[in-house]
Symmetry: C2
Subunit: 151 residues, 2 copies
């Protein structure tokens, strides 16, 4: 199998490292920035990316997602990105060949059952989509030297 | 092998169909829309998505990309999306198991050689990234009922 944990970890980090570079550019005064009144704010978007990925990967590993921050905690988006990324890497590393082939029931979320490796691919696709949103947000914050979409 | 042409075609179209839905919302008067002065215009972004995917998939199939439109032709982005999507589906369908395992030299583009199936995955990731940009553009054009990022 060419879709092993090492491959998936590298694939995830090739995108997450770029997410983290974009997040580093978002100053606290821009956390509430939204391109339109119906858009997520920059902070909501980043928290959604981090928690959704963690939820997908926890589900793939048959675990309950951890809550890695309290609403009352005044933690930066950079710190949150660091915490979630570390937890997600540990989860992916825990998946051996048979765990990756395990069928995961996503009936409630997407109406079907898929193998665990596919859940992780879907999680990365979700990250890429919202990172694509974030590129526009960050450019609108005044940055025009932005990284490639994948490392 | 679970990564066969049927799987990759379905994976591609699950995203391209959403791209096409977004493109349908872009009126001609918005073709020149750009979120910032350093951004691609909506038209440039869509043409980049279509031609880059076609280039990736042609390379994966060991063929030269076709030029499916002339600069002088007054063709709509919808029509272009249709043309490129049809050509790309034919290319993906042409790839049998051994063609998908063929090593493709992307040294000039990304500094390495990868199997053909991986070139197609990278092409879809590139599409997802820029579709993520396009979601923000289209919302900024005044639409707030937008599709899910994948079908």
């Amino acid at each position: 199998m060419y879709k092993n944990a090492a491959y998936l970890k590298k694939y995830f980090l090739a995108h997450r490292e770029v997410t983290k570079e974009l997040v580093e550019k978002i100053d606290r005064e821009h956390y509430g920035y939204q391109p339109t009144s119906t858009s997520m704010t920059a902070e909501q978007l980043v928290v959604h990316m981090l928690t959704a990925f963690h939820q997908f990967v926890s589900t793939a590993a048959g675990k309950n997602p951890e809550n890695l921050h309290e609403d009352t905690e005044n933690v930066s988006l950079n710190e949150l990105a660091e915490r979630y990324t570390q937890a997600d890497v540990r989860l992916i590393e825990s998946l051996d060949e048979s765990a990756l082939d395990e069928t995961i029931d996503l009936t409630e979320m997407i109406g079907k059952k898929v193998p665990a490796w596919k859940v992780i691919e879907m999680a990365v696709d979700h990250e890429i989509n919202h990172k694509g949103n974030l590129f526009v947000y960050v450019r609108e914050m005044g940055y025009n030297q932005l990284p490639m979409f994948v490392k």
